[in-house]
Symmetry: C2
């Protein structure tokens, strides 16, 4: 007989997804949030923060490849990368495919890292690499206090723009981030769903456009995320384009020739191009 | 108080989506299938065939733009287009943006057309265009009996590859289709989800590759469809590439510079390229 326990996530008050659950592996609470790892049927283990899907083993590669490779493939190897958030280790794992000189991870919630090390070794195993430095703390504070020009790339792998993560989407943060970047550098952030969070993306693009010369929102399909998902890239010196300078392997979803434009309605609205 | 009726579609036996339902507008049965139109909260009216989501007013543009524009933008205007299936009218609506000389729709289920005319005028309104000819019948039979070189493009807007739609994915059908195409022409078909139906796509690509010179599977995110969705294009003379020859407007999702490669794992498996 098949287990009839379903996890349900509402993406809006009117719709969402459901996944069959085999087992609950750990349910705990940190200073910041509820952390829950469940075993699903079909999607492997799943990490939930405050009841929201952060990742499943089956489709996490899509998010992690797409937040890192389009930008990092524009930089020469030996880059120094700052990752804000990303306590599960998936983003660091992908960054390491670029042969960076160093990866600094600033995660606010130490318990996310501990839980990931135990239940998601295929992601958090990346933390064992000697080039990886982990700092437990507030990403906004870290960026404001870091010394100038220390990083070639900043990857903002945050939760939704609410609560502590909200400050990671502010003009103030982007200005501080720019100060600690080298001349040939970029920032990239997860930027919610253009289907459900259009107004948020419109604002984000306007803000970034006022600070950076090249700004681009690009999309990917993450099956357990709400509708179409997006990432936003910004740089003063490196235009995001295809084909990229270097090939990265192995990847499962990311393809060097994949286009990186978002849905046309967002592009139109913000940049007035057609 | 908010309606607590939810439509639930299982994308696999273990997961799926749910949508809040406001009302049932028509539920009927044709010779071929159950046809149900419901009013959702948030996604507008939704067409269900045998309980599966065919379209919602909110996201149908993604599917219909993506099945038509990448291929048709490679042809000069005045093309003659054959649409197999597509009884809701959405594909024909998008084809008309290319100023075709003619659009022939072959739909097996007359009741789908009737229901769409009544409940989905923003799609089925396209059937009023004088260049559109509607034939009620079996698409496979039509293609086998049609005269040679009558069409510049065939768009296969079918249901899942089971039951009557299965024959639309056969080698026999593709060979017959090739015979009724002009020299500068292509076929394009909806081709399921590379996330859930990988083996199906691998087979499809192998089959098409044995008949056509240029074959490409490309993806889009349709929020109410299972995971990532895909389309497969095949031609002997026209390589699918970006940027396309002509601009099409207005579109909401399709962008002339969007990349058209599928997820890398499929490309690798079938073509052995990296």
């Amino acid at each position: 007989m098949v287990t009839e326990i379903f996890f349900k996530e509402f993406h809006t008050p009117n719709n969402g997804i459901f996944l069959r659950i085999k087992d609950s592996l750990i349910k705990t609470r940190s200073k910041f949030q509820e952390i829950w790892v469940v075993e699903t049927e079909g999607f492997g283990k799943m990490l939930l923060l405050d009841g929201k899907v952060m990742l499943t083993e089956e489709d996490e590669h899509i998010y992690h490849e797409m937040i890192t490779h389009p930008g990092l493939s524009l930089l020469p190897e030996g880059m120094r990368v700052l990752v804000i958030g990303g306590g599960d280790g998936g983003t660091v794992r992908e960054v390491l495919k670029h042969n960076p000189a160093s990866v600094t991870l600033v995660e606010i919630d130490e318990l996310v890292i501990e839980v990931s090390k135990k239940f998601f070794p295929s992601l958090a195993g990346s933390f064992n690499d000697p080039r990886v430095k982990i700092i437990i703390g507030d990403g906004v504070k870290f960026v404001k206090e870091a010394k100038d020009s220390g990083f070639d790339a900043i990857v903002i792998d945050s939760t939704d723009p609410e609560g502590p993560a909200l400050a990671l989407f502010s003009m103030e943060f982007y200005r501080a981030a720019k100060k600690i970047l080298t001349q040939n550098s970029f920032i990239v952030t997860q930027s919610e769903s253009p289907f459900y969070n259009k107004q948020f993306i419109v604002e984000l693009l306007k803000n970034l456009k006022s600070e950076f010369r090249y700004v681009k929102n690009y999309i990917a399909s993450v099956p357990t995320y709400p509708a179409i998902w997006s990432f936003t890239y910004a740089s003063d010196s490196l235009e995001l384009d295809v084909p990229p300078k270097r090939k990265i392997s192995p990847t499962k979803y990311y393809h060097p020739n994949m286009g990186l434009d978002t849905t046309k309605e967002i592009v139109d609205e913000v940049f007035g191009c057609s």
